[in-house]
């Protein structure tokens, strides 16, 4: 095959941006995506088969057939899990990656989120660390992401955010009923509520129309293409340069290296299952935290017997996501108006600053209310079946509000991705084995967050409330998975440098949530995008035609 400048592995939140930035700068790019390219016509609005409720399977990959992982539970027992099962920690496998079907909350992390160790100290047993870059380093790229991807919202009502150079490009969607109930209650509590920033058109933007406010949002492709991901923003731009070729249904097997210790391309299985080689000057891995780590670990050679970038046993460690806790409140009157996208209001008063707690997270009303998601969310005393259950569904479906939040996890080195020695996928490659858990302090923070959610609901008039604050026995790193190829200045304690370049090999980059040192108390998509712009910018600046100036 013809040699190209760059192979990018994965067409998700980060890979789409990298492909666009490199191809616009004149580099020839091959973008390999293991999944298919879905369109708004594939929305389906299927309550039972989507990326959120997977009882009948995933809508946007991977398929249950031939794509297992192995989960190690708290007792050390091994479980082979399918992509549609919770323990799999699935995100998606398709063009756009998670951004095709995400809820599209588009948060900037706070300046403190990049300095967690300096602010709080690392609790014993944790691997809490500072990022090698600051909020100020990323700010121009947050801004670029907000304008190129398209974000609606307004954070002028809260003091809890870093400085920004200009307002978001689109106003927020008009408030739904939950917003109207929760906003005055939050203000009475002294909080600073504001509309959630969303990668969703509230007005026509970027050649596409606005949200039509249906209830099938998170977990689904957008029927009217008003939700903004890499598949409908940067990827079309990348393809239009003429420098980028997107190959779908191509599963990368390994990164190939030469005798001098540099990457020379990738080997991948095409849609017909044939093994192909794509030579390139550089390789960018953007396959999301679990699969990026797996690909590096699977790329073994004489010079790199433990996989690429792994000479200090760091690849796959510090796996994290978010610890979701919150509360549900049951009301006497209707609270739900069936106006999408559902999630509308948040507070970030609790992300930092509570004595005794190392961080926190936002609290926001829950995204989506498919009836099937309500069946186990009942007031105390409602039986699990029978007429009383049916009638409680009827009574409370429109009379409840859920407030949840992504508690920032305190990472540990033991929560990790390794290769399973026996289980293989349909291409015969060792699958990811997921083991360990986040630091227990995470659960203390989560419980306090849940109590705060409950207090907000009571202030809003809930007649009864229930707290959700479980202690998961395994790491919870599904759609928000991060951390497995940590960014850092110390090659012994991290995998990539501040520009997402492997410490071990100067022509391989990991650009996705894998590099997150910590994961903020927010949905991570916009930060993944900002880092993709930041790293691509450095890559293009240091590029001299066939390699790097350094």
């Amino acid at each position: 095959m013809k040699r190209v400048n760059a192979v990018v592995v994965g067409a998700g939140a980060a890979g789409g941006i990298v492909a666009k930035e490199l191809s616009a700068a004149g580099l020839s790019v091959v973008l390999l995506e293991r999944g298919k390219w879905y369109t708004p016509n594939d929305c389906r609005k299927d309550d039972l088969r989507n990326q959120r409720t997977t009882v009948l399977g995933n809508a946007f990959g991977p398929e249950d057939e031939g794509n297992p992982r192995v989960l190690v539970d708290a007792e050390g027992a091994l479980h082979t899990v399918l992509p549609s099962e919770g323990g799999y920690q699935n995100n998606a496998a398709c063009v756009g990656g998670g951004t095709l079907s995400y809820g599209a909350m588009a948060w900037r992390y706070l300046p403190q989120d990049f300095r967690m160790r300096s602010i709080y100290g690392a609790p014993p047993g944790s691997s809490l660390e500072d990022w090698p870059i600051s909020y100020d380093d990323l700010e121009p790229y947050y801004d670029k992401a907000e304008y190129e991807i398209g974000i609606s919202g307004d954070d002028s009502g809260t003091p809890f955010h870093g400085p920004r150079r200009r307002a978001l490009p689109m106003p927020p969607l008009p408030p739904n009923r939950e917003f109207q109930i929760l906003e005055p209650a939050a203000k009475r509590l002294g909080l600073h509520p504001f509309p959630i920033p969303m990668a969703r058109n509230s007005v026509p933007y970027n050649g596409r129309g606005p949200c039509m406010r249906c209830r099938w949002c998170v977990g689904f492709a957008c029927e009217v293409d008003a939700k903004n991901g890499s598949q409908n923003t940067v990827l079309p731009v990348a393809l239009a340069t003429g420098n980028c070729e997107l190959r779908t249904e191509c599963m990368v097997r390994e990164i190939l290296t030469d005798d001098r210790g540099r990457a020379r391309g990738v080997a991948y299985y095409d849609g017909d299952g044939r093994l192909q080689e794509q030579p390139s000057d550089i390789v960018v891995v953007s396959a999301c935290a679990i699969e990026s780590a797996r690909l590096l670990l699977n790329s073994k050679s004489r010079l790199f017997p433990n996989g690429l970038g792994n000479s200090h046993d760091q690849v796959g460690r510090n796996l994290q996501g978010h610890h979701y806790t919150g509360a549900i409140g049951f009301f006497d009157d209707d609270t739900y108006d069936d106006v999408g996208p559902g999630a509308s209001i948040a507070v970030s008063d609790y992300n930092h600053g509570t004595p005794g707690l190392r961080g926190g997270g936002i609290l926001a009303n829950e995204f989506i209310r498919l009836p099937i998601q309500m069946v186990d969310r009942m007031p105390v005393g409602v039986p699990r079946w029978g007429l009383a259950h049916k009638q409680a569904m009827r009574r409370f479906f429109k009379r409840n509000i859920v407030i949840m939040g992504p508690t920032q996890q305190i990472p540990t080195a033991d929560a990790r991705v390794t290769l399973d020695p026996t289980v293989r996928d349909k291409w015969g490659m060792p699958v990811a084995r997921i083991s360990g858990n986040v630091h227990p302090h995470t659960f203390e923070i989560g419980l306090v967050q849940a109590q705060r959610a409950e207090a907000w609901l009571r202030e809003a008039g809930a007649a009864s409330t229930l707290i959700t604050a479980s202690k998961p026995a395994t790491v919870s790193a599904g759609q928000h998975q991060a951390g497995t190829c940590r960014m850092g200045d110390d090659p012994k304690g991290s995998v990539v440098n501040r520009h997402c370049q492997l410490h071990d090999m100067d022509n391989v980059f990991v650009i996705d949530s894998s590099v997150h040192v910590t994961n903020g108390g927010f949905n991570p998509a916009l930060t993944i995008m900002a880092i993709a712009y930041f790293a691509s910018d450095a890559l293009v600046r240091n590029w001299n035609g066939t390699g790097f100036r350094s």
């Binding site: 088969r49 069936d338 079946w385």
Partner: protein, 181 residues
């Protein structure tokens, strides 16, 4: 609590739904003649399952689980996505009938409603794994998308007060169409 049993008068709505059910069942029977009406279940298994599902979601002024097509939903999935649960259903339904016969001398489907409630409660206690499986699938079929054969005419969504037909953008596919997924 008005159950469609023992002479309790049918509401007009139930009557209409029941009529629609009958013709739908007939249509299925014609198209799937060679397989006996269901993709996986025998007719006897389907009757037992219907009795079980209808105690999990009984009728009031809104149809019960089986009236809304939940048995068809489960049957269809057992032939496809839920193939792995086939043995659990075979054994579980047989056990349910065995329990019923032991206590009341008749199969589950032939019992009165209070008797069925008693047996279903006993299944929940003694065979929790099977009960949870059926409960989960019944709730899916009833509250999930009509495209899979349950929630016929979106009865549960209407009951909950959701807009029906829902807010739509483009209509290039049909929610009511039978699905293979």
């Amino acid at each position: 609590m008005q159950l469609n049993q023992d002479g309790v008068r049918l509401t007009r709505r139930q009557f209409v739904v029941g009529g629609a059910m009958g013709s739908a069942a007939l249509a299925v029977g014609c198209s799937a003649r060679n397989r006996g009406g269901f993709d996986f279940l025998t007719d006897a298994q389907a009757r037992t399952l219907a009795a079980l599902c209808d105690q999990i979601i009984p009728a009031d002024d809104v149809p019960s689980a089986s009236q809304a097509g939940v048995v068809s939903y489960i049957d269809r999935q057992l032939a496809r996505t839920y193939r792995r649960h086939r043995n659990a259903y075979r054994d579980g339904l047989e056990q349910a009938n065995a329990m019923s016969r032991k206590r009341f001398g008749r199969g589950l489907a032939a019992l009165s409603v209070p008797e069925q409630v008693e047996i279903v409660g006993a299944i929940e206690q003694q065979n929790r794994r099977f009960f949870d499986l059926v409960r989960g699938h019944t709730l899916e079929g009833y509250y999930g998308s009509p495209r899979h054969g349950g929630n016929r005419d979106a009865v549960s969504w209407r009951m909950l007060g959701l807009a029906q037909p829902p807010v739509r953008g483009r209509a290039q596919y049909d929610l009511r169409k039978g699905a293979s997924s």
